[in-house]
Every structure is written in structure tokens, then in C-alpha cells.
């Protein structure tokens, strides 16, 4: 995957879009327009954008509870994602799913998932179907370091390896599962190290570096597709925000946070753009475009109607 200035700028803009989308959500929470809970991926945008840029549009994506980045990186419309979060009928799931249960089959996006580790077997099953039908698409499953402690991780990776399923497991290791530091939750130094137990190849990359993510995932996806076997890619990243709303982050130091903020993926990407000869003005313009898009999306979403009573109580069976 060649990385010219134009491409880089477009990825940057998408990352920016994700960041601003969530900042807008925070705003809506604060003024009481948004209910429920949701999990921001602020700081992890490069991972979502990088992996999905390396994938085909027809590959199938399974996400977890921290899925806004994956959704927007996949090209879902911000207005409809926002509408879903706001519970409106124009949302991708008509308001039924919300942040943790959002799906768009049109985008080959098999859903975010509110059960930690719950999406791992589902994505593995998608890969099973792809192999069964001899299609060349693969499945891509996003999950966190914490999720690697669920039995589903172990059971699914084992089956994927045994059966040669075309699935890329992407572990976004952001060092914490909620408040739990990965060192206190996983008995190994890395998540990738666990794949040995299933005879699965792995790679690790800096998840805050867009080029590193692009490179590692392009390579991994190529392998999965050509060799028809699973691969585990561990991306080391960091969420600058709390786990969910109202997280005072007592489990980590402000020092650590500011160190990590200095390596923020967006900042890194800006520096890289300048290196590639993209001017500050063009970067600012790109930021402005993203900002406009989000403002527009929020307005559209907020203006949309709710579905009605019959819609809420019906439709449980196909």
C-alpha cells in the first residue's frame, strides 16, 4: 500500500472526522440530548482507519463496544450513525441498536457488540461462511485486550486455526479493560503471545502510527486472504478519554495520560502530512471539512423523528 500525500490526507480527514464525531457526542451528552452510555475511541482512530483502509469494501467487519471509529472508518454516514445513537428512526438500526449494537449489512459491517468477547465467535463464523462459499473476502474482528480473557477468544481462535478460516483478529490493546491494566488481567506480556497456543501467526504494531497500522494490516490481510488462515494483529494504542461516560480515570496517572497524548495518532499524522509536503493550510481546510460534516450530521440526526410504538414491540421474528 503506497502512501502518497493525497491518500494520507484523506485518512487524516477520516480520523479527524471520528475524533470530532465523538467530541460532538460528548457535547450532546453534556446538554442532555444523548442518553444511555457509549464508549469513545478518542486516541485510537488510526487503528480503525488504518485497518479498514487496508481491507476490501466487501470484507466483513465485526466490532465491539468501542465501535464508532470502526463504523465511520468503514464509511457509514455520520448522520445515520449519530441518528442511531440518538435513537432516531433514520439510524442504521432505527434506534433499536444504539452504540453497542449497530450494524450495516450494506457496508458489510456485521455489528458492534455489547458483550465483551461476544463478537469473536461471530466474526469467526463469518469467516467460516466465506470459506464455505469459497469467496475471497475475509472477516475482520476488532476486540480489546480485556476481551482476550474471555473463553470465546480461546475457543474461537482454536477453531479458526484448525479449519483454516480467513479471519483477521485485530486486538486493539489500549492497555486497559475498563479500569483494569492489561498486566493485571493477562498473564502474558502481549496478547499476540497467546496466539501460539493456537498455532496462529501474529504481528504487533504501533496503533498510534497510521503508516504502521496500514503496513501491518495490509500485510496481515494479504496473508489471511492468500493463505486462507487466521492471523492476529495486535495494535498498541491508547484511549485518551475515559472508558465510558463519567470515568474519573482513577486507575491511571495524569502523567501517563499526557505522555500518551503527546503521541496522539492525529498529531503524529499531522507531522507526517507536513513531512509529505502538505501545507498547514490544507490540513486546516481538511479539519474544517470534517468539522462541517459533523455539524451537518448532528443537525440532520437531531431533526430526525423517532419510530413508533408498533415498531418497538414488533419485528422480533424474521
Amino acid at each position: 500500500m503506497q502512501l502518497d500525500a493525497e491518500k494520507l490526507l484523506s485518512y487524516y480527514e477520516r480520523m479527524q472526522l471520528i475524533r470530532l464525531f465523538e467530541e460532538k457526542l460528548a457535547e450532546l451528552f453534556t446538554i442532555g440530548l444523548l442518553g444511555g452510555t457509549s464508549h469513545f475511541c478518542i486516541g485510537q482512530e488510526a487503528s480503525a482507519v488504518g485497518v479498514l483502509a487496508a481491507a476490501r469494501d466487501t470484507d466483513w467487519v465485526v466490532s465491539n463496544h468501542r465501535g464508532h471509529g470502526h463504523l465511520l472508518a468503514r464509511g457509514l454516514e455520520p448522520a445515520r450513525v449519530m441518528a442511531e445513537l440518538l435513537g432516531r428512526s433514520t439510524g442504521y438500526c432505527g434506534g433499536r441498536g444504539g452504540s453497542q449494537h449497530m450494524c450495516s449489512m450494506e457496508h458489510h459491517f456485521l455489528g458492534t457488540n455489547g458483550i465483551t468477547g461476544g463478537g469473536i465467535p461471530i466474526g469467526t463464523g463469518a469467516a467460516f461462511a466465506l470459506k464455505y462459499k469459497a469467496e475471497s473476502d475475509i472477516a475482520i474482528v476488532f476486540f480489546g485486550d480485556g476481551a482476550s480473557n474471555q473463553g470465546t477468544f480461546h475457543e474461537s481462535l482454536n477453531m479458526a486455526s484448525l479449519w483454516g478460516l480467513p479471519v483477521l483478529y485485530v486486538c486493539e490493546n489500549n492497555r486497559y479493560g475498563m479500569s483494569m491494566p492489561v498486566e493485571r488481567a493477562c498473564a502474558t506480556a502481549s496478547i499476540a503471545a497467546r496466539a501460539v497456543a493456537y498455532n496462529i501467526d501474529t504481528a504487533e504494531a504501533d496503533g498510534s502510527s497510521l503508516p504502521a497500522v496500514l503496513k501491518a494490516s495490509a500485510e496481515a490481510i494479504r496473508l489471511v486472504r492468500s493463505a486462507q488462515k487466521p492471523f492476529l494483529l495486535e495494535l498498541h494504542c491508547y484511549r485518551h478519554c475515559g472508558h465510558s461516560k463519567n470515568d474519573p480515570r482513577v486507575y491511571r496517572s495524569r502523567d501517563e495520560e499526557s505522555q500518551m497524548l503527546a503521541q496522539d495518532c492525529l498529531k503524529q499524522c499531522e507531522a507526517l502530512l507536513l513531512e509529505h509536503g502538505v501545507s498547514s493550510e490544507m490540513i486546516a481546510l481538511s479539519q474544517e471539512r470534517a468539522k462541517q460534516a459533523i455539524e451537518q450530521a448532528a443537525q440532520t440526526a437531531l431533526a430526525a423523528p423517532y419510530a413508533d410504538c408498533n415498531y418497538a414491540r414488533g419485528g422480533v421474528y424474521a
Binding site: H101, C103, G118, P121, T124, G151, T152, E155, G315, V316
Partner: protein, 329 residues
């Protein structure tokens, strides 16, 4: 039972349904432990591996939760997995994927996906298998939105309904029963499908309604014969579908007889029988001439000892006693 026609075992009926659907639609595949050469713990799938090979007969590691979840994912992409859980007792391991994925996805993803998954599993006590291999766990499943649940009691039912379940676009749990596998019954010639939401009035009668399902239905039919002699004419209604319940058939029968006994192999508390009783108490109260009674397993684990097992599972005497109580009321 009419003479002369071919009789098949319940287990054969299941195998026929699987065989026919595997042959008909190449998106259908079976998934489970030891379902290949071994033929499954009860020999139900014997011969299918030789016929369909390892692509269609997928033997899994012992990983109930994830192979059920894998089937959900495969179903979302259009395959039609038929999962076998070797003993119903093990379904608790897979419950998260049934509750939070299979049953919910179609609704919560706003109809964008279908989950045409079938999960077959034998419940019930076979005699001496003990606490972790004998349970009828219908109670755990009924009430999970989005699942269809059937518990056919005859070879004819199970064949036609399993075929329909495989063609249905929803997750369907098929509760088989170890004690039914070796029972014989007639199966119609040629292909047929049966609806997934209908009770079956297996034997009409006037004096009292007996509602049952799975292996308790043949027991109740035998009891019907037994009490004919004392002039009692029981109506035996087989629920067949546990979710959704065929309320109309239930209410019609209750309104006709005014007396109801519900017989099930599951533990008494919190089960299908309770739901049926509650529905009747809501919708047919005026028709009732006596309390609604339930005969079910005691609310304890099922002991291994064959002798002790009897005291825990519903016995003929318990049913007869309840019938007498209702008659004399």
C-alpha cells in the same frame, strides 16, 4: 397405531429430516461434537458423514459457547447451520450466544440480518445419567425473545418440524428427548413440513384437558387409555411448540373441558407449565371448574440412582393422583 405402514424410530425421523435438508440445500450444514463417524452420542447422525463429508458435517472441539456463536455468524452470512448440543444440560454454556446474539440480532439490527440457525439438543432423563446429563431445560429457554422453541413428541412431528425449522429464517431450538429416540411411529410418505407454532390435539376427550410436551405426551396418552376404564375421557393436547405457544388451541380445549392438568418433565418452578397456567388464568378463568394443576419434576437436581430418579421425575402415579383430584374437585 395403524398396522401395516412403516414405523420409524424418532431418531430415524430426525436423521431423515437432516438428510433431506442436507440434500436439498447446500447451505445447510451440521455442526457439533462427535456428529461424524461416531454419529453423535445417541447415534442420530450416523451415516450422514459418510454421505456428506466433512464440509457439511463439521465436527467441533468441545467449545459449546463459541461454536454456537460461530453458527450465528455463519447464519448471518446466509448459511443454515444445524447445531447439535450433545446433552441439553450443556446448553447453559452456549446461553449467552442464544440470549444476546441469536435471539436479538434480527430485531436489534432492524431486520437487516436473519439468523436461520437450528439448535438440536436432547433433554430429559434416560435413566441413571445423573444431575448433569438428564435435565429438561425448557425453563431456561422459554421467554428468551426471538427464539422459536419446539419439542416434538413423535417421529412424524419431529421430521416435519425439523425440516420446517431448517427452512425458517429464525433461530429455532429443537428439544429432542433421549427417551423418545427409541420410540417408533408412522411417518408420512414423501416430503412434508409442519408448522412451528401449532399445538396438536393428539387425543380429543371431554372430561379434562391434559397438556404436555416431549416425552410426557406418550406417557399421558397411555394414561388416557388407562383411565378410560373408569369412565374418564381425557383430552390430550401436545404443546409441540413451546415458543410461541399456541394459545388458541390451549384456550379452546380448556373452555371445552373446564379442567386442566399440565404435565412436564422439567422442574416445576418457573417453567413452560407455569406460563401455560398463567395464560389460562388470565384468559379462561371463567371456564375453569377446578384449580389448574401441574405435575412436573421436583425442584431438585436429578439424582443418578435409578431408584431415586423415579421420585424426582413425574411418575404415572403423580399424574393419576392429580387427575383424581381434579375429577373429584
Amino acid at each position: 397405531m395403524p398396522e401395516g405402514k412403516t414405523q420409524y424410530f424418532y431418531s430415524q425421523a430426525v436423521a431423515q429430516a437432516l438428510d433431506e435438508e442436507l440434500a436439498r440445500d447446500e447451505n445447510v450444514f451440521l455442526l457439533g461434537e462427535d456428529i461424524g463417524l461416531y454419529g453423535g452420542a445417541f447415534g442420530v447422525t450416523r451415516g450422514l458423514f459418510e454421505k456428506y463429508g466433512s464440509k457439511r458435517m463439521v465436527e467441533t472441539p468441545i467449545s459449546e459457547n463459541s461454536f454456537t456463536g460461530l453458527a450465528v455468524g455463519a447464519a448471518m452470512l446466509g448459511l443454515r447451520p444445524v447445531v447439535e448440543i450433545m446433552f441439553m444440560d450443556f446448553i447453559a454454556l452456549a446461553l449467552d450466544q442464544l440470549l444476546n446474539s441469536a435471539g436479538k440480532l434480527h430485531y436489534m439490527y432492524d431486520g437487516q440480518v436473519k439468523v436461520p440457525l437450528v439448535l438440536r439438543t436432547p433433554g430429559g432423563a434416560k435413566g441413571g445419567y445423573g444431575p448433569s446429563h438428564s435435565q429438561m431445560l425448557s425453563n431456561l429457554l422459554v421467554g428468551i425473545p426471538g427464539l422459536k422453541i419446539i419439542a416434538p413428541s413423535t417421529p412424524r412431528q419431529v421430521k416435519g418440524m425439523l425440516k420446517a425449522a431448517i427452512r425458517d429464517d429464525n433461530p429455532v431450538i429443537v428439544i429432542e428427548n433421549k427417551r423418545l429416540y427409541p420410540l417408533k411411529g408412522e411417518i408420512p410418505e414423501g416430503e412434508y413440513l409442519l408448522p412451528l407454532d401449532k399445538a396438536e390435539l393428539v387425543s380429543p376427550g371431554n372430561d379434562m384437558t391434559i397438556i404436555s410436551y416431549s416425552a410426557m405426551t406418550p406417557v399421558c396418552l397411555a394414561i388416557k387409555e388407562a383411565v378410560l376404564g373408569v369412565g374418564l375421557d381425557l383430552e390430550v393436547l401436545d404443546l409441540v411448540s413451546l415458543q410461541p405457544l399456541d394459545q388458541e388451541s390451549i384456550f379452546t380445549s380448556v373452555r371445552k373441558t373446564g379442567r386442566v392438568l399440565i404435565v412436564e418433565e422439567a422442574c416445576k418452578t418457573g417453567g413452560v407449565g407455569a406460563e401455560v397456567a398463567a395464560l389460562i388464568a388470565e384468559h379462561c378463568l371463567d371456564a375453569l371448574e377446578a384449580p389448574i394443576m401441574r405435575v412436573a419434576a421436583a425442584d431438585v437436581p436429578i439424582p443418578s440412582s435409578l431408584e431415586l430418579e423415579k421420585y424426582v421425575l413425574p411418575q404415572n402415579d403423580d399424574i393419576l393422583h392429580a387427575i383424581k383430584t381434579l375429577r373429584d374437585y
